[in-house]
């Protein structure tokens, strides 16, 4: 690991200022991804600003919904009564990710910031436009079984690895960030992450030095009919091949409103307005769900080794919706 200066922040504004002042500085929260990447020499900060002492871990009612602190751990968030009762889809998504130890360390802000687990991104002798812009995409011509089927570019076919964010997209969460000057702004979580396009080195739309302070959840109508389905190579503790965050608002058997977000398919959680439109106003049935699943992957462009993801995504969407509507 390369040398870095360690600073323990006691104040969010000072933390944001410190990072803003140094292009090579980074925030440190749980460290579960950043430390790993530093050991691998993928991330090379010369200064870490430790956020873990900041009072940004509160989970509380706010603006008709719930505000979860950026520094609340994944464990505390998933198990908080306000989340379990009002946003059970979020709880399901969080506990589908990582291990007990990692969820005890990982924070909500850090979870949004986690980087792809593409093996070409991790391997510093391989080309990777995300790690080193201009070197090419190792995965595009290499082994891409784990990679994207939607929204990728010639520059990058990596996927966003997280689970929590898939639920946050379905719940239309808002990310609150604070700048070095102390001012705050919000952005819908759907606008937080980016597709790779020409600049895969940029995972998200934060400015350098902007600090996530909270994630705000609007009042949820998805407390009864929801399901987070994660399909992976083993039963636990692995990244998703396909994940589906499904939420329905039912009136009898008629779908009033639907949310479908796919994980493991793109550079960001992939919300499917096409699938949602195919569900809205229809009767909840396996037939309806099949049509929605077809719509979700209609524009998919699989790579050499991941055509299986198209069919897997369809089946996963149908199963998640069957469970959400309690038909299975």
């Amino acid at each position: 690991m390369r040398p870095f200066k360690y600073i323990r922040a006691n104040d969010p504004n000072a933390a944001a200022r410190a990072v803003a002042a140094n292009p090579q500085a980074k925030f440190l929260a749980g460290g579960t991804n950043l430390l790993d990447l530093m050991k691998e020499d993928v991330e090379r900060p010369n200064e870490l600003v430790d956020l873990t002492r900041l009072k940004l871990a509160e989970i509380k009612p706010a603006r008709g919904g719930v505000s979860i602190g950026a520094l609340a751990t994944n464990t505390d968030t998933a198990n908080h009564p306000l989340i379990r009762q009002n946003y059970p889809l979020l709880t399901q998504a969080i506990v589908a990710g990582a291990s007990g130890q990692l969820r005890n360390m990982a924070t909500n802000g850090g979870n949004l910031m986690q980087r792809t687990r593409c093996q070409y991104f991790y391997d510093t002798v391989m080309p990777c436009n995300k790690r080193e812009p201009g070197t090419g995409c190792g995965a595009l011509e290499g082994l891409n079984r784990m990679h994207a089927i939607l929204g990728w570019s010639e520059k990058c076919v990596a996927t966003y690895p997280g689970d929590m964010a898939n639920a946050l997209y379905a719940l239309e969460a808002v990310v609150r960030v604070r700048g070095a000057d102390g001012s705050e702004r919000t952005m819908p979580v759907s606008e937080f992450h980016r597709l790779p396009a020409e600049t895969p080195e940029r995972d998200n739309n934060l400015q350098h030095g902007e600090l996530i302070v909270a994630i705000e959840l609007p009042n949820s109508r998805f407390v009864k009919n929801y399901y987070y389905l994660k399909v992976r190579d083993r039963a636990s503790y692995a990244f998703a091949l396909i994940a589906v965050a499904a939420a329905l608002e039912l009136d009898g058997s008629t779908i009033q409103q639907a949310r479908i977000v796919l994980g493991g398919v793109a550079h960001k959680p992939w919300r499917s307005p096409e699938a949602e439109a195919a569900l809205s106003g229809k009767a909840a049935s396996e037939e309806t769900f099949r049509r929605a699943a077809e719509a979700a992957v209609a524009s998919a462009k699989p790579l050499a080794h991941n055509a299986y993801k198209v069919e897997l995504a369809k089946r996963a969407i149908v199963l998640a919706l069957m469970r959400a509507s309690k038909l299975a």
Partner: protein, 273 residues
């Protein structure tokens, strides 16, 4: 800029200027006295040029780990002083900012029970309890542990009394090579605390309902962050189950006594048994 400097007043040198003089004896060789150097530094251009040179030198020196003032300064900048409680005792350490908790425990405090498996947060062998919660010490910077309570496998027993989880792992043969065992046991202790607190898992049917009872499936899922290469999972599961349920079952094996060992030796004709 051409300010007049009183040659007799000898202004104080800044730290940078002192360093410059020290680093660049060539300036003196060129016949520049301390005073004229100061004058020219203040006059501007040479000072900026020389400082720029020095910056380059520092950058080069930092690339090659050779002893010297510049390197020592860098090391000091990245030194972190921490005080934390490890297994009940206060420990004060001066550490390189890069040191993770696992290495601080093993290399600085002599607590080698916590194991380095993958060093990437994938195997769980380094699991310890920080403020009562199970975490991965390989992905925890020691610097972040200021004031925290750390419990390692060495701190679970009370004097000669094994922690119930340690005793159960022995009773149920919850290991073969033993390398993952300290992490397994610390993880299991932390996991049962989470279960008592009503925490949910990936296999919880209804996350809005609270239960503190664990099925085998629940234990397996909650322990999935601890890998055992020997495959001692049935024993690990049985051990955790017993501590969780409090229901004791009879031990199915015992150590051979001396007579039994002697009989085997005689039968085999092999003293090395």
């Amino acid at each position: 800029m051409n300010e007049e400097v009183d040659e007799n007043s000898a202004p104080e040198l800044t730290a940078d200027e002192e360093a410059l003089l020290k680093e660049m004896p060539a300036l003196a060789d060129l016949g520049l006295t301390r005073r004229t150097f100061v004058k020219q530094t203040i006059a501007g251009s040479l000072g900026l040029f020389a400082l720029d040179l020095l910056a380059h030198e520092q950058a080069l020196a930092a690339l090659t780990p050779s002893p010297g003032a510049v390197f020592a300064n860098r090391a000091a900048e990245n030194l972190v002083k921490i005080a934390l409680r490890v297994n009940g005792a206060t420990k004060s350490l001066e550490i390189d900012s890069r040191v993770v908790l696992l290495d601080a425990l093993r290399e600085r405090l002599g607590l080698t029970g916590s194991k380095k498996g993958c060093d990437q947060g994938q195997c769980g062998a380094c699991t310890v309890l920080v403020d009562g919660r199970r975490v991965l010490s390989c992905l925890t910077l020691a610097a972040t542990c200021e004031g925290k309570q750390v419990t390692t496998i060495e701190g679970l027993a009370k004097d000669d009394q094994l922690h119930p989880m340690q005793a159960a792992f022995i009773k149920y043969d919850g290991f073969q090579c033993g390398y993952c065992t300290p992490g397994q046991i610390c993880s299991a202790v932390g996991m049962l605390a989470e279960a008592r607190h009503g925490d949910v898992s990936h296999v919880t049917e209804d996350v809005s309902a609270t239960t503190t009872q664990l099925t085998d499936e629940q234990i397996r899922e909650r322990m999935s962050g601890n890998i055992c290469r020997c495959g001692a999972y049935p024993g690990i599961l049985a051990a955790i189950n017993e501590v969780h349920s409090g229901k004791q079952t009879a031990q199915t094996w015992r150590f051979a006594d001396e007579q039994q060992v002697a009989r085997v030796r005689k039968a085999d004709g092999n003293e090395a048994v």
